[in-house]
């Protein structure tokens, strides 16, 4: 009887896991992605229903236990629903970070509770994943909260570092892992407490020194951590669904971490050590309009755009920071209605998390076929009449092609190949790499000094009056 029951539960878990995989698979195309998400939801509902059946069947649960589950689901689910419905798309990275935090925290709690129940009876097949879960989950919990705070601007996005910070991190890591080994050898709650404390502090000290510009990498990495922690929780309570789902998320976070680090031309280790992306160089040389820079007025820029046959818009985080995605979409619509071929060139790190810029433009009703990835569009710049750069800096700097600069080797958008380039920018300030952008002194480039939102509105108005 029990055997049959367990078999059925396991089969439901397999179905759930398959639907997660299918759901992720359907995300390879925007046209099928929504269906993928729905299938994933269905799998999740099935898995939770099966777990409920398992809990009922186990007959161990007290009535208080049921109340705990019900209120927990109501409180947590309600909070999740509310934040998910109200969050602004620009704040998406923070929200994803918070979900990472609670996911990692929940995974750590599962292991902690399991350890407390089993006490000293655990064998190493349980205690090893338990310790890994507790360490990874705790680091993710505090690390993600700090990351969210930095993204929200509650904590300075500049790297916070102090002399000997690396040594402190090293000590914390050694304490967490060392005590972890001790707890595996001789299980004790006090030992576990030390591990938890060290891991929680490590999460804070790991993310604090990382600059705001490196957040896409940090979020991806914490995502991978959460997945791994959940998989470890699956080992602890011997639940296949958790193991498979956790591994899938771990893999996705791992891939995105690598992609983001590559797109920034940095190694993951280099980012975690921190310090770069600091932005302190920005103030150093901002506002100096160097020789050879030509500025342009809205009317002249509008003429160029209105009479072009092909325009590529290059949006950067500055566009999102100015909340100008609707203005850029309006200008693009206007140009398209004149028969101009408009597309968007999106660098992988345009935004605060992987793919962030695409979501912001989708929200402004830009059709996704117009959103082109770097490799897809780089060949098209040579055939482009006007490249309109808005709030993007380092990712357009041709200096990356030469050796010996701060961004050498970084993949860039070949904006300088366009016949003419218009850059909307508030000042000649530097990007995160803190170096001059050679694109701005290119004879083909005109600088339109304005705030992105106001500048785009002016351009659209000028195009309108121009074409009547």
């Amino acid at each position: 009887m029990t055997g049959t029951f367990n078999t059925i539960i396991q089969l439901v878990y397999v179905v759930a896991a398959s639907s997660f995989i299918l759901g992720l698979h359907l995300m390879n195309n925007p046209a099928t992605a929504r269906r993928g998400n729905q299938i994933s939801v269905a799998g999740m509902v099935a898995a939770v229903a099966a777990t409920t059946a398992l809990v009922i069947h186990g007959k161990q649960i007290s009535s208080t236990g049921w109340i705990v589950i019900a209120t927990g689901v109501l409180v947590g689910g309600g909070l999740g629903l509310y934040t998910a419905r109200t969050v602004k798309m620009t704040a998406m990275p923070q929200l994803v970070s918070i979900f990472n935090a609670v996911g990692g925290g929940a995974a750590a709690l599962v292991a902690i509770r399991d350890f407390m129940t089993l006490g000293s009876h655990v064998g190493s097949s349980v205690s090893v994943p338990t310790l890994l879960d507790v360490i990874i989950g705790s680091v993710t919990f505090t690390g993600s909260i700090i990351a969210a705070g930095k993204l929200q601007g509650l904590i300075t996005s500049a790297p916070v570092t102090f002399p000997g910070a690396h040594i402190v991190n090293l000590v914390l890591a050694v304490v967490a892992v060392g005590f972890g080994g001790y707890v595996i050898a001789s299980p004790s709650l006090v030992g576990l407490g030390v591990v938890i404390a060290a891991a929680l502090i490590f999460g804070v000290s790991m993310v604090m020194p990382i600059g705001g510009a490196d957040m896409p990498v940090v979020i991806s990495l914490l995502n991978a951590f959460t997945g791994t922690a959940v998989a470890m929780a699956g080992f602890v309570i011997n639940n296949t669904a958790l193991i498979i789902a956790g591994a899938l998320v771990g893999a996705s976070g791992g891939i995105l971490t690598k992609l983001m680090a590559d797109a920034m031309n940095r190694s993951i280790g280099n980012i975690m050590v921190g310090g770069f992306g600091s932005g302190d160089a920005i103030t150093a040389a901002a506002g100096v309009a160097g020789a050879g820079v030509q500025s342009i007025a809205a009317d002249d820029a509008a003429i160029q755009l209105a009479y072009a046959s092909k325009v590529i818009i290059v949006p950067g985080y500055g566009l999102a920071a100015a909340q100008a995605q609707h203005e850029v979409a309006a200008l693009a619509d206007l140009l398209e209605s004149r028969g101009v071929d408009v597309s968007y060139a999106i660098h992988p790190v345009a935004g605060r998390m992987p793919g962030h810029m695409n979501v912001l433009l989708a929200e402004a009703n830009v059709p996704y076929p117009l959103l082109k990835e770097m490799d897809e569009i780089n060949g098209e710049f040579a055939r482009t009449d006007v490249a309109l750069v808005i709030g993007a800096n380092d990712v357009t700097n041709p200096a990356a092609r030469r050796a010996g600069t701060a961004i050498s080797g970084m993949p860039i958008l070949d904006v300088d190949q366009a016949k003419s380039i218009i850059v909307i920018k508030r000042s000649m300030g530097h990007g995160y790499a803190g170096i001059d952008n050679e694109l701005y002194t290119n004879p083909k480039t005109s600088m339109f000094f304005a705030d992105a939102k106001k500048g785009l509105a002016e351009l659209a108005a000028a195009v309108k009056t121009l074409v009547g």
Partner: protein
């Protein structure tokens, strides 16, 4: 048992790498958000520990775990759905005079 679980873990990692590396950069934010909701499966784990709790500490830990996981899973799926709903092909009829670009759908894998 541990070995079987470990094999499942490793194979799932490979499946994850394989499936996710085909997702275009356009969808990376919804992808991460979807992956986020999937790790909300930890709710199943939180329910299991609530089932074996029989003292105040156990109940508190289970409550926090269940609430965290529920927030993760509900919020994750809802926000992913909200984002994906925004990705539209084109609402108005296509603009005239399109240059013959490479198929707009053919995204680099």
């Amino acid at each position: 048992m541990l070995l079987a679980d470990f094999i499942i873990f490793v194979l799932s990692l490979w499946v994850g790498f394989e499936v996710i590396s085909k997702v275009p950069a356009t969808l990376h934010t919804p992808l991460m958000s979807a992956a986020n909701s999937i790790h909300g499966i930890v709710l199943a784990g939180a329910m299991v520990i609530a089932a074996t709790a029989h003292n105040v500490v156990g109940y508190i830990l289970a409550f926090v775990a269940v609430a965290f996981a529920a927030m993760n899973v509900v919020g994750g799926y809802v926000v992913t759905g909200r984002m994906l709903k925004m990705f539209r092909r084109r609402i108005a009829p296509p603009a005239p005079a399109q240059a013959a670009d490479a198929s707009p759908n053919g995204r680099a894998a």
